[in-house]
């Protein structure tokens, strides 16, 4: 059951990533070209997912939209990890000290904010666009990674091999980097896939309300927003981008769940 979710998740993720990568070198049609005579076509052999109100090929738009979704979510996870992990390591190394206290209280504070509302505030004030969407989503990834890193690092600091490293004269920074970080990496990878999927959902939401990537860059969320007025006579316009989001998020979540069990030896032992 568990390894099945790992495989299914991995397959779905490969499909989504491959779709995004292929779009750099090839798409079935050029989406910058309007083709009004062929507008709002239902799925057919020439247009597998149909065409939109400008006659653009939906499959091509989905492929390029995958780039936007993945790029925004990936960089947002990068921000979260890049800042959150060092903060978490630092807080754990200074356990109980004032730096630990400040970092953790700051985390609680960011956690307390309704992420979506603040993301809307940031993009609304600083202008809609992919960059601001990335920042808005990324900020809320920082405390997630800081907290999980600190939690895991704290228990590692109690272990003998860390004591051995301290006895051999290594400083806190070096121990964190050489011994703690490699041991929390599994946890971070699993959390990374989860935050990645949340990032895709958040990006879709922001694009849907017009605060994400701006035209002409296609994004799944905005394709959904555009389709809303046409959903009664062209339901495929709403169906396809939505399914693309579901498949990506589902794939990442299954991959995360599968990886967690695969990378955590304790669960493996318990199962056999």
């Amino acid at each position: 059951m568990r390894s099945r979710s790992l495989i299914l998740g991995a397959v779905l993720c490969v499909v989504v990533v491959a779709t995004a990568l292929i779009s750099f070198i090839w798409t079935p049609y050029d989406i910058t070209q309007m083709d009004i005579p062929n507008k709002l076509q239902t799925p057919s052999l020439t247009h597998p997912f149909g065409t939109d109100h400008f006659g653009r090929d939906i499959l091509s738009m989905i492929m390029i939209g995958a780039r936007t979704s993945l790029a925004v979510a990936l960089v947002a996870v990068g921000i979260g990890m890049g800042l959150g992990v060092p903060l978490g390591l630092w807080a754990a190394a200074r356990k109980g000290g004032w730096t630990d206290e400040i970092i953790m209280r700051g985390n609680d504070l960011v956690f307390a904010f309704p992420a979506l509302v603040i993301a809307i505030l940031i993009t609304a004030v600083f202008g809609a666009g992919a960059t601001n969407a990335i920042i808005a989503i990324g900020i809320f990834n920082i405390p997630v990674f800081a907290r999980i890193t600190r939690g895991a690092a704290l228990s590692l600091w109690e272990r003998e091999f860390i004591l051995a490293a301290r006895v051999s004269g290594k400083g806190a920074a070096r121990i964190s980097l050489e011994h703690i970080l490699p041991n929390v990496m599994n946890l971070l990878i699993v959390q990374g896939t989860i935050q990645f999927s949340l990032g895709i959902l958040a990006e879709a939401g922001l694009s849907y309300v017009g605060l994400g990537a701006q035209p002409p860059v296609p994004s799944w969320g905005r394709m959904l927003a555009d389709s809303q007025t046409m959903v009664s006579f062209a339901p495929h316009l709403a169906l396809v981008p939505g399914l693309a989001i579901v498949i990506s998020v589902l794939g990442l979540n299954l991959l995360g769940d599968g990886l967690r069990d695969y990378l955590d030896p304790r669960i493996r032992v318990a199962r056999t």
Partner: protein, 315 residues
């Protein structure tokens, strides 16, 4: 308990203070002057200056911050730049849609999640468990606004059971209004119930492994009796925390769902204010949402400590 409550209260106040500072700062650095935006590009400089004075924009930043915060504390949220009506009044009007929507969605989410979670836990590892867990994976992956569009497509456009959007107003009848909120509430509730069902299940499974559950079985209770009498009550504690968190999420998440269904709630108010650069409205609505989220978390913390004394000693 008193010590713990005071400590939480202090952190509540600090959170709110920092939150208000952050929101104020973000709005302050927003490009564009509201007064010149309202009057257009052809306005005379002295007219703009007069309007700036009227709006209180000529005060220094710290003065404006203090005025904003003290105003909110006494229920005065400022005056909308575009509508020239008190923001408090605008919020109060919209609240009667957003708040019932959040409560409605929370109720639905709980009603779906509890049976699903309990059923999955009681059938652990069997077909029913796998099916429920698979369904929750899907539920988590579905963006609620897309789910909302699909509901509109099926139940409003094809079956014509509901209207596709809009809100008649509570004065037009309670059931009519509830009907208008039904599709929005379902679309908000379903993804949340997927999360809640998973928490319910894992919390119950943790409890089922406890010694007191074995004791309950040993004294002659059946599995089912033990689950209902002893398991459920103990499993509810973490579930209640999640419900508290979900309420705030539903209040904020309603912002996008209101867009799908054209509901004139807080969400639409925010987006209208954003496009009109009516920043005082944006500022106050965001602060209000943040306040309710922080307040709910605070109340959940207290409720949690009240039922579980072990927590009071921690932090």
């Amino acid at each position: 308990m008193l010590r713990y409550s005071l400590k939480r209260l202090l952190s509540l106040v600090i959170s709110l203070a920092v939150a208000s500072l952050v929101i104020f700062a973000v709005i302050e650095v927003a490009p564009g002057d509201p007064a010149s935006f309202m009057l257009g590009i052809n306005a005379q400089p002295d007219t703009v200056a007069a309007l700036r004075a009227e709006l209180g924009l000529d005060m220094s930043k710290p003065q404006r911050y203090v005025a904003w915060v003290t105003g909110m504390l006494s229920g005065d949220f400022g005056t909308s730049y575009t509508y020239r009506t008190p923001v408090a009044q605008m919020i109060a009007d919209r609240m009667w849609i957003s708040l019932p929507l959040a409560i409605y969605a929370l109720t639905l989410s709980t009603l779906i999640a509890f049976p699903a979670g309990i059923y999955a836990a009681s059938r652990r590892g069997k077909g029913g468990d796998v099916a429920v867990m698979g369904a929750t994976q899907l539920g988590i992956a579905v963006p609620n606004f897309w789910f909302a569009m699909m509901l509109v497509l099926i139940f409003a456009i094809n079956l014509r059971w509901f209207s596709a959007g809009g809100f008649p107003g509570w004065d037009k009848g309670f059931w009519l209004s509830m009907k208008a909120l039904t599709l929005p509430a379902i679309s908000l509730a379903l993804p949340q119930s997927a999360i809640l069902a998973r928490v319910m299940r894992s919390s119950l499974l943790d409890i089922l492994g406890e010694d007191f559950m074995r004791t309950a079985r040993a004294k002659g209770l059946t599995r089912r009796q033990a689950l209902w009498r002893h398991g459920l009550r103990n499993a509810l504690i973490p579930v209640l925390t999640i419900i508290g968190l979900q309420f705030s999420f539903l209040l904020a998440g309603g912002i996008i769902i209101e867009q799908v269904f054209f509901l004139p709630g807080l969400g639409r108010l925010i987006f209208q204010a954003i496009s009109a650069r009516d920043l005082i409205v944006v500022e106050s609505v965001v602060m209000l949402l943040v306040f309710s989220v922080i307040l709910v978390n605070f109340l959940v913390d207290l409720a949690y400590a009240a039922v579980d004394p072990r927590l009071r000693s921690r932090t």
